[in-house]
């Protein structure tokens, strides 16, 4: 057999390599294996890493482990776990840590999602697809990249399954496509439930469109309609339990309100806007207009790529009609969804100058766009890739977490005094023990208490503290009865988790020796010395950044009211 590589395959290989190089490659300094979590810039990012790690340890996600649920043992695992299971799979088989594999899965599958969308566009027009594909590189820069490093990776992975849904709709006439549709929808809901609303909306739109064509234009669409119907049946069969859980928890806690308008993505550094795309917005506008015309012209067999482009553009503005900040998450992947308009806009212009060799020219333009978007050659007003800073847990802190995980009893309670790193408090779940924190940066009350005492120069036995866990997403849901779910966080009152706490009842204490505000670290060490004076404390671990004390008599007085 002779091997003759097709130019299209080579083009896809180049784009795949470029996206991998500029996406995860640059973020990770072109290494794959790390000693500590690398590329994590927010607490949410650690939330996913630690939950995946917990499932790997426990073996299932029937309930949340106590260290993620403030010591509660009956909290149901309701966070969509699709991405976690995939990263665990790769960790077991590939031998890397979950904090690495969760990113490998998210980045590699995002690239595969971009390539799959290329194939959706290719069904519409090969040249347009070639021009469109390089635009995908922009998911790894600017605000879109925030989606990866700030903890929106389950949403991004769910969008990969959403792209699979779009792809199968584009191939709905093939036998057994309804099974793939059912799996794609189930995988979406099990990875990030809110994307199911988008996927279901797209399927519903396609269904209604075909229904109208069937009855108004008298084109036979029975096969398409039947398959979508069966696909939805397969989806319900595969994921009824998770749909039920989501309905009883997320849908109840966060009902969609069509009059809810969001203009900012709270806590996140900005939102993706169309204006981010600079001069190429012009080509996208041309593509959009050409798309409307072509869509209408082919209304009896509407191009799925165009339908998806229109739909995802409108969904991206869902922040104005009830989709709240979820709409901003969809925008992270606009460089994929809207690439069809860029491709079509350029192709439209290209056809006027090189009609006969448009396909060959599309290859060349595809490569030029890849170079331009990657920032290798910077062109004014053309958006391009820019390297993003990489957050990481430093090795000494990681050693502290590992020491606690490996050397303390499973039921030990750990107390964290002030540490700069602990602002992203989900990182503390890496110790896999129930833990408190003296200063919850998300809670002004505890901040005030800590700073007041520091300013007054006093050390007390009680400090306002946070009993940490993933409290505020699903509010610690538990089975209250058959088909009934209660919420510990709502029922127990918030003050059960944020309150003045006797610090002497803990088993282990972590004190950071340095801080951005030196006074915080000095205060830490004064408290540590005071505890050591009590006689029943010992230093069990120490490194250049932290010290861990063990309390041999939890509950006994460990500190008197004193002046620092």
């Amino acid at each position: 057999m002779k091997f003759k590589p097709e130019p299209e395959y080579i083009f896809i290989f180049i784009v795949f390599t470029a996206l991998l190089f500029f996406g995860l490659g640059n973020l990770w300094g072109h290494t794959l294996m790390h000693e500590t979590p690398t590329g994590y810039s927010a607490s949410d990012a650690f939330q996913h890493q630690t939950r995946a790690e917990a499932i790997k340890v426990v073996g299932n996600y029937v309930t949340e482990p106590p260290w993620i649920a403030a010591g509660l043992t009956d909290v149901i695992g309701v966070y969509p776990p699709g991405l976690y299971y995939l990263s665990i799979s790769l960790s077991f088989i590939g031998g890397l840590e979950v904090f690495d594999t969760i990113y490998i899965i998210a980045y590699v599958f995002s690239i595969l999602g971009a390539i799959l969308f290329y194939y959706v566009i290719r069904k519409f027009n090969k040249s347009v697809a070639l021009i469109s594909l390089p635009f995908g590189i922009l998911i790894f820069t600017g605000i879109s990249m925030v989606g990866f490093t700030w903890g929106a990776i389950p949403s991004l992975m769910a969008q990969v399954f959403l792209i699979l849904t779009i792809w199968v709709i584009a191939n709905i006439e093939i036998d057994f496509s309804w099974i793939v549709l059912g799996i794609a929808l189930s995988a979406t809901v099990i990875t990030h439930s809110s994307e199911l609303i988008v996927a279901a909306g797209f399927v519903a739109l396609y269904f209604i469109l075909n229904l109208l064509i069937h009855f108004i234009k008298k084109e036979n669409k029975t096969i398409q309609l039947k398959k979508i119907f069966f696909g939805i049946g397969a989806f319900i069969f595969l994921s009824w339990y998770f749909i039920l859980l989501s309905q009883l928890t997320w849908a109840k806690l966060y009902p969609l309100n069509p009059f809810d308008i969001w203009l900012t993505h709270g806590g996140y550094p900005g939102i993706v806007n169309l204006t981010d795309y600079g001069i190429i917005l012009l080509f996208m506008a041309i593509g959009l207009l050409a798309g409307i015309y072509l869509f209408w012209k082919n209304i009896t067999n509407p191009p799925v790529a165009l339908l998806a482009g229109f739909f995802m553009l409108i969904i991206g503005y869902g922040n104005f009609y009830g989709l709240n900040y979820r709409a901003f998450q969809i925008r992270y992947f606009w460089p994929i969804y809207l690439s069809v308009f860029l491709g079509l806009g350029i192709y439209f212009v290209l056809q006027t100058v090189a009609k006969k060799s448009a396909y060959q020219a599309a290859f060349i333009i595809g490569i030029i766009l890849l170079v331009a978007f990657s920032g290798v050659v910077s062109i004014p007003s053309v958006p391009h890739y820019e390297s993003t800073g990489s957050g990481a847990v430093d090795k000494p802190h990681w050693d502290v977490f590992n020491w606690l995980k490996q050397n303390t009893p499973k039921d030990a309670i750990v107390y964290f005094f002030y540490g700069d790193l602990y602002k992203s408090n989900a990182v503390l779940r890496n110790i896999e023990r129930v833990h408190y924190q003296i200063l919850s940066h998300s809670n002004p009350q505890t901040t005030a208490d800590f700073i007041t005492k520091l300013q007054q120069g006093v050390i007390t036995r009680t400090y306002d503290s946070a009993l940490l866990g993933d409290c505020c997403g699903a509010d610690y849901p538990y089975w209250k009865g058959f088909g009934k779910i209660g919420f510990h966080f709502l029922e127990m009152n918030r003050s059960s988790f944020y309150k003045p706490t006797d610090i002497c009842i803990m088993d282990y204490y972590v004190f950071d020796k340095g801080a951005s505000q030196p006074a915080f670290a000095q205060y830490n060490l004064v408290i540590a010395n005071e505890m050591l004076k009590s006689g029943h404390f010992e230093v069990v671990y120490e490194n250049p950044v932290s010290v861990i004390l063990k309390n041999n008599k939890p509950g006994e007085n460990c500190i008197g009211n004193s002046t620092a």
Partner: protein
């Protein structure tokens, strides 16, 4: 005649999958050029074992409708979905995730081999 054609196609696709594996290795090694080739090999092999090959097996029935690379890409994403669903739900019947990650792709391989074997033994044309 039909069986011979299918065997030839299977062999051809297997060779192309091998080339795809080499291409994926090259892409990963370029993107992570500071990493040891052994680590890169391990990860690429794991991705192929877990998602790419089982996905290809599952979508092999669409070989006459859809090209190889498109099937491989869609198949990998599809099988990631299957893995997520099965690994999650198998934990409710007590299967630890460390076993599920092996069982799920192996099931796809087994089903594919059985299907190939039965169709060649009975000389059936697979309907798709």
């Amino acid at each position: 005649m039909r069986i011979a054609l299918e065997t030839a196609q299977l062999k051809q696709e297997a060779v192309k999958l091998g080339l795809l594996f080499v291409a994926a290795l090259a892409a990963f090694q370029i993107a992570f050029f500071k990493e040891s080739p052994l680590v890169v090999l391990r990860i690429v092999a794991a991705i192929f074992f877990l998602f790419v090959l089982p996905g290809w097996c599952v979508l092999y029935i669409w070989r006459e409708k859809i090209g190889l690379l498109e099937r491989v890409v869609a198949g990998a994403i599809l099988f990631a979905g299957i893995t997520a669903i099965l690994a999650y739900f198998s934990s409710f019947i007590g299967i630890h995730v460390k076993y599920a990650v092996w069982i799920v792709p192996l099931l796809a391989y087994a089903a594919f081999i059985i299907q190939l074997f039965t169709s060649s033994v009975h000389g059936k044309n697979r309907k798709h």
